[in-house]
Amino acid sequence: MIEAGKPIFVQIAEQIENDIIDGVIEEESPVPSTNEFAAFHRINPATAGKGVNRLVEDGILYKRRGIGMFVATGARERLVGVRTEQFRAKFVGPLLSEAATLGITPEQVASMINEYNVTDRKASTS
């Protein structure tokens, strides 16, 4: 839902992106209208429109005249690529700097991740 301290239009754009990545909205299928977003999230329609327009500018959505907004072909792949880059910056960087303060080497971090995966798999198969 909508949180404080972050522009709402950014949050709307991110939610649509998440739905495309998760496959909730498939490529070449329609996204809800600006007014539907506004009513659902109880936000100003102009603000919702700004979020949708941002994705149009990025080529993630496109407009079919008189019908509405649709997800472009290849949108999911592109979003996953962008998010992977962001994942590196947002999670891997802080992970390694926190590890450095604790005296954990990147190699130890890597083995921690692998072990975490092993225990994780055990938990899911049992």
Partner: protein, 322 residues
């Protein structure tokens, strides 16, 4: 529509309003664009109601100019027909019932939608046949809210419209406002103290304090700019030096400072310096902005000087319109 075709609903330049020696509105300039929802926010006695009275021709300016749809609203039927002003305490003729109000509304508002009004009466469970004098405070507010919504005036003012309205009724008001605004775009100026409740509905924010415009900004831009920086006092002080500091707090060696205008790179720099960043809601931001300005003008030992109600004369909108 007979209105001049511009993108501006309201244009105010150097507007001042004095009541005797008290300056309620102090050299204010701003514009209101058409078909947007504005929030007019500020503390008690900041000048919100006076400003709206000036914009609806119910007060005369001491100096400065104001245009509503390209003309002065004072005694101007063409402008006033396009304006709906819902006040905190609307007075009605003594014998009036709610259904009388809604029956007479089409005389004043060309776009009145009776079916929409009837639906709102159901939503708010408003008794139509009971004398207005016998309605509860919340029901009286509901009458005003219904008039404000169903009139669909090109420029609608809501001045603290929901005194006594319960949480359900307020939510109905917000939902219906958004729904109807989406279908029938118009300019709405909403004055309220419940900033958290309405902040997501607003496209633009005007904050008034001691008769002056303190903020005039896109709501979404405002939401993204301010952050509270928390960390070791020396680190925080080093980071916020030379920045737009909104408020300052601290305990022991720990400092918590709210600053405006932080970009993505600056946020990253703060995190790299080991500082914690937390978001600031629109309400917190406005509370901090309007507190800090009074704190600098008042002596620290005494609380802010008592505010004077600038509303000396209350003109009844219904009698003023007839």
């Amino acid at each position: 529509m007979t209105l001049t075709d511009t993108d501006t609903a309201v244009r105010v330049v150097g507007l001042t309003k004095k009541f005797g020696t008290f300056t309620a509105i102090d050299d204010v300039s701003f514009t209101v664009e058409r078909n947007k929802i504005y929030g007019l926010l500020g503390r008690n006695g900041a000048g919100k109601t006076t400003l709206m009275q000036l914009l609806t021709g119910q007060q005369f300016a001491t100096s400065g100019t104001l245009d509503v749809f390209g003309a002065s609203p004072v005694e101007n039927a063409r402008v006033l027909q396009s304006v709906c002003f819902i006040k905190e305490s609307q007075k009605y003729p003594d014998s009036f019932r709610a259904d009388h109000v809604f029956a007479s509304a089409p005389w004043f508002f060309a776009n009145w939608d009776a079916a929409f009004a009837a639906r709102l009466v159901d939503d708010f469970r408003l008794p139509l046949k009971r004398p207005i004098k016998k309605l509860s405070r919340g029901q009286l507010s509901a009458v005003g809210v219904i008039v404000g919504l169903a009139s669909r005036a090109p420029l609608t003012f809501f001045d603290e419209p929901y005194l006594g309205l319960d949480a359900v009724a307020r939510q109905i008001f917000y939902d219906r406002l958004l729904e109807d605004y989406a279908e029938h775009p118009r300019t709405v100026i909403l004055s309220t103290h419940l900033i958290d409740e309405v902040s997501n509905l607003l496209e633009h924010v005007l904050v008034i304090d001691e008769g002056r415009i303190l903020m005039d900004q896109d709501a979404d831009e405002l939401r993204g700019t301010a952050s509270t920086v928390v960390g070791k006092k020396t680190d925080v002080d080093a980071f916020v030096a030379g920045r737009d500091v909104i408020s300052r707090d601290g305990i022991g060696g720990l400092a918590s400072v709210t600053v405006g205008g932080l970009g993505e790179a600056e946020r990253a720099a703060a995190r790299a310096a080991g500082l914690e960043l937390s978001p600031v809601s629109l309400q917190q931001l406005i509370v901090q902005r309007t507190t800090s300005t009074t704190a600098t003008t008042a002596s620290p030992a005494s609380p802010a000087s008592p505010t004077i109600d600038p509303t000396v004369t209350k003109i009844d909108a219904w009698s003023a319109r007839s």
